[in-house]
Symmetry: C2
Subunit: 155 residues, 2 copies
Amino acid sequence: MESSSDTGVGDMAPPVASGRVAAPVPFSEAEIAAIRFGVDGLIPAIVQDAGDGTVLMIGYMDDTALRRTLSSGRSWFWSRSRQEYWCKGETSGDRQWVRSVHYDCDGDALLLTVDQDGAGACHTGARSCFYRAFGDPGGGPDGDRGVDDGAPAPG
Amino acid sequence: MESSSDTGVGDMAPPVASGRVAAPVPFSEAEIAAIRFGVDGLIPAIVQDAGDGTVLMIGYMDDTALRRTLSSGRSWFWSRSRQEYWCKGETSGDRQWVRSVHYDCDGDALLLTVDQDGAGACHTGARSCFYRAFGDPGGGPDGDRGVDDGAPAPG
């Protein structure tokens, strides 16, 4: 399970085992103004591995989570189930170091590229949360779609 | 703009200029039962280029759109703005030929890999809808994030 943390950016842990460091993403209020949050105040954020293009997960951000992500260079989300902010990997160690944040033509979806610490992004231990495919009876976190043949993204 | 089409799978146009053909995705009712549609009956569907991993767009599917996608091997979505089904590219020619449909650990997000016809997935003419990045003043459909250096996906 993901950690739950509502600490501010100033409380971020120092760089850890991976040796990766956070790089804040420059942004302007004009760019923020182009973002169209949904009626629930949230926008979906796709997270993609910056190295090989694997789609790792999807999360949801509100205005605060987006600003924390940009300011800190770490991925922050709003948990719809727990109704709280969380910084990805802060407890599990599966941290994400943000390399870019794109937004789509309608401004209603985000795409982060990240360097992913640890085994992967999924709380199951899989590299990608998208480890199951229709028509693939072997799919599973420990099934035949492991890191090497994980079909969600060609490498 | 995308075409709007509410025709059934049986009305699909024959294979076109790209020479690509549709490949239905096998699925079971047990797999469909693992999908958790939102309170609005929709699930986000990330669309990724099967060739190089570029994240092209995000759309939304209800149960019907998902079944049409799997059955036809073409990407079907529910348009929240127009309140109707649409088959991607049916008018524009920017068709998507589905190669896999993954679902995530929570069953509340989909990831399609596709072969993308035409210039790309975006109604602006950009290859990816995610052509703008925070901190990148040159971003735009015709800006400095073209096909070759389109940062949303490495590769």
